[in-house]
């Protein structure tokens, strides 16, 4: 099944991005296709390459980048939400791309399911 995912909160402050990550990993393990992960609202902050969490903590951003690389995930950051919050090409982590809100609607149309993670 093709599943779209929307992540609406940034890393660490809320569990939303963690839960979305575990959900995506589990969906891939079960053989589903992740059509796209769309980052909106403060969720755009998951895509900054500048985070350096404490050594004993998970690295939320790198974990997304790695999963994208391993599974060819399409990680899309909303351009308008990103500009509001200072997430632009300059600080974009590997595996993410910046695009328009239309990519969210399109995921809703093309995927069989859309699951939203937020606050």
């Amino acid at each position: 099944m093709k599943i779209g995912v929307m992540v609406n909160e940034g890393p660490y402050n809320h569990q939303a991005s963690d839960t979305a990550y575990q959900f995506v990993k589990a969906a891939l393990a079960k053989g589903h296709q992740i059509y796209r992960v769309f980052f909106y609202n403060d969720g755009v902050n998951n895509a900054t390459k500048l985070t350096e969490p404490p050594q004993d903590d998970r690295h939320v951003v790198n974990r997304w980048s790695k999963l994208a690389q391993e599974h060819g995930l399409d990680l899309v950051v909303c351009v308008a939400a990103g500009l509001r919050r200072g997430l632009v090409e300059d600080n974009l982590a590997p595996g993410f791309r910046i695009s328009g809100l239309g990519q969210l609607v399109e995921a809703g149309i093309q995927a069989d399911r859309l699951v939203v993670f937020g606050d």
């Binding site: 909106y40 609202n41 308008a80 939400a81 695009s99 969210l104 809703g108 093309q110 859309l114 939203v116």
Partner: protein, 128 residues
């Protein structure tokens, strides 16, 4: 924006569920931005306003004092985008002492059971 897919012929029922008050958080505004974009995709779009989401539609919002943009007039522009299904939950209005006449835009006020019935018909529900 990639609009190619809008022409693919798939028409799904999208409902945007608005449950949050305006200004205290950005969800109402950025939710509205999704709604406006979705108009370009020729889908069957509806908006439901329940819980504190009904506050988004209250007339007379004046945001000069908080220096934040008043986006409430945008709801009146939705009709121009062919987004005409605005459902407001009666129970949510009543709990807040609001009446249909106090809303900035024409809506269909309906009971919770009817809201639930329409939610269940959807293909995609995005709630803010």
């Amino acid at each position: 924006m990639d609009l190619d897919e809008g022409a693919s012929g798939v028409v799904k029922k999208f409902m945007y569920v608005n449950r949050k008050a305006p200004y205290g958080t950005i969800y109402a505004l950025e939710g509205l931005e999704v709604v406006l974009i979705s108009a370009a995709f020729d889908q069957d779009v509806s908006l439901a306003f329940l819980d504190d989401g009904v506050y988004q539609l209250v007339k007379g919002q004046q945001t000069r004092g908080i220096e934040v943009k008043n986006f409430s007039p945008t709801y009146r522009a939705l009709e121009g985008y062919d987004i005409e299904k605005l459902y407001v939950e009666r129970e949510s209005l009543e709990a807040r002492g609001l009446t249909e006449g106090e809303l900035i835009v024409p809506v269909e006020v309906m009971g919770r059971d009817e809201i639930v019935r329409r939610m269940e018909e959807q293909d995609v529900v995005i709630a803010f």
